[in-house]
């Protein structure tokens, strides 16, 4: 009885070892972040840490409070961050290895933005321009709200006082 238990234990250990050896592929490769065309609407370090909060706050303002001139709308992110094939066709930002997908795959975060939102820009630049033909009024409510949140969150993450953040 004792011998049989020993054999089973040895088998389990052996098989686990084989399993680990077979499935081990080393550390997860770092994401390759595709370069965007142009400059980001906010400091990159702030955007990296707080983009989810910004999008969440701004979507509220855009959808419910008529802040149609927001700089932080998802369409604008997509417009700059969607890569293009050699033929000039836009690649969805949520396609494997693309701007959104590469990082979110790395950190294991599922994003469902693009189950509703377009992941490729439309038209010439894909920019939804305001009535003035520009990129929108930077003094809009959404922008102010987003900056406020960005400052607070950035201050938190960077462990500095809110007032210190430019």
């Amino acid at each position: 009885m004792r011998a049989r238990a020993g054999i089973i234990a040895a088998l389990v250990v052996l098989l686990s070892g084989v399993g680990i050896w077979l499935t081990h592929r080393g550390p997860v490769p770092l994401p390759v972040i595709a370069r965007a065309s142009g400059h980001c609407v906010i400091q990159t370090s702030v955007m990296r840490r707080t983009h989810m909060m910004l999008l969440r706050a701004v979507r509220e303002e855009i959808v419910r409070h008529d802040a149609s001139d927001a700089r932080f709308r998802l369409t604008r992110c997509v417009a700059c961050h969607a890569q293009r094939t050699a033929g000039g066709r836009a690649i969805p930002v949520n396609a494997p290895g693309q701007f959104c997908a590469s990082c979110h795959a790395y950190v294991g975060v599922h994003i469902d933005c693009f189950s509703c939102h377009a992941a490729v820009p439309s038209g010439s630049a894909g920019l939804l321009r305001g009535p003035d033909g520009g990129a929108g009024n930077v003094k809009g409510r959404a922008v102010r709200a987003a900056f406020r949140i960005a400052r607070v969150l950035h201050g938190r993450f960077a462990a500095t006082r809110v007032g210190d953040v430019p």
């Binding site: 377009a118 439309s122 709200a145």
Partner: protein, 265 residues
């Protein structure tokens, strides 16, 4: 535990607290109110954005009092029975499939009515009527269905849980439900599986000073049966027309105050 000790006490007695009468109820309310303010305080400043809606009104009563209320005037006398340019324009602009059936959303449809006695026939488009006191907004359990200050009724799909109450509540059958995964949505019209949707009065276009896609298409056909504008601006073409000619709204008896007016039905 205390319930057990009281044995066969009546329900009312369980809620009373001896001499203090209804005090526990008031106390409960105070505690709930304090809990509410505590939540508001503990959140970071930016998140008061969300708190505003929690405290906000859920009814649309009085929402049609602002300086802007977008609306439509549809002249059924000029609308042709065999024309569905507005329907196609809506589908093309908003990325709808254009197919029939419960699996496919429709935001605008052509309706032909005939009086069986007189054979009087009219054809006209019916879409979300953007009611002043919208049933879809009243029944929505999550606040996803809402009315903008400019009178446009929308679905906030971030909040929609796909319960379909609004589909049931709307007397105009203006809401649709997306039951399957969609691809190739238009950037200006995000739509996805598990959410209710309806005519947005092409809010993106309207914000840019353009008219809705259906109205533009109707103008192009030459029938010119649709007029779009601000109902609350006395100088607008639509307000002047409404002041000048007899119009009606569909199911005006329901008292929901539609923004879409019809002439000749």
């Amino acid at each position: 535990m205390s319930d057990k000790q009281k044995g066969d006490t009546k329900d009312e007695d369980l809620w009373a607290d001896g001499e203090s009468g209804h005090a526990p109820d008031a106390m409960r309310r105070r505690i709930l109110a304090m809990a509410g303010s505590a939540i508001a305080l503990t959140l970071v400043p930016g998140v008061t954005l969300f708190a505003r809606d929690l405290q906000g009104k859920r009814t649309t009563k009085g929402a049609d009092k602002g300086p802007v209320r977008y609306g439509l005037l549809i002249d059924a006398r000029h609308c042709q029975t065999d024309c569905d340019a507005c329907v196609h324009a809506c589908q093309t602009y908003n990325g709808l499939s254009g197919k029939d059936g419960p699996d496919h959303a429709q935001w605008i449809r052509k309706v032909t009515i005939t009086d069986p006695k007189t054979r009087f026939t009219r054809s006209f488009p019916v879409m979300c009527q953007h009611c002043a006191d919208a049933a879809c907004v009243a029944v929505c359990p999550t606040g996803a269905s809402f009315k903008r200050p400019d009178g446009i009724v929308l679905v906030d799909k971030h909040r929609c849980i796909g319960c379909r109450y609004c589909l049931m509540a709307c007397p105009y059958k203006a809401r649709s439900f997306v039951g399957h995964t969609l691809t190739d949505q238009k950037p200006w019209a995000p739509r996805g599986k598990g959410t209710a949707e309806g005519c947005t009065m092409c809010v993106e276009r309207v914000m840019k000073g353009r008219v809705p896609a259906c109205v533009e298409a109707c103008q192009k056909t030459g029938h010119k049966a649709m007029v779009f504008g601000n109902l609350h601006d006395p100088k607008s073409a639509i307000a002047q027309k409404l002041a000048d000619v007899a119009t009606t709204t569909i199911r005006a008896d329901l008292g929901m105050g539609p923004s879409v007016h019809y002439r000749g039905i």
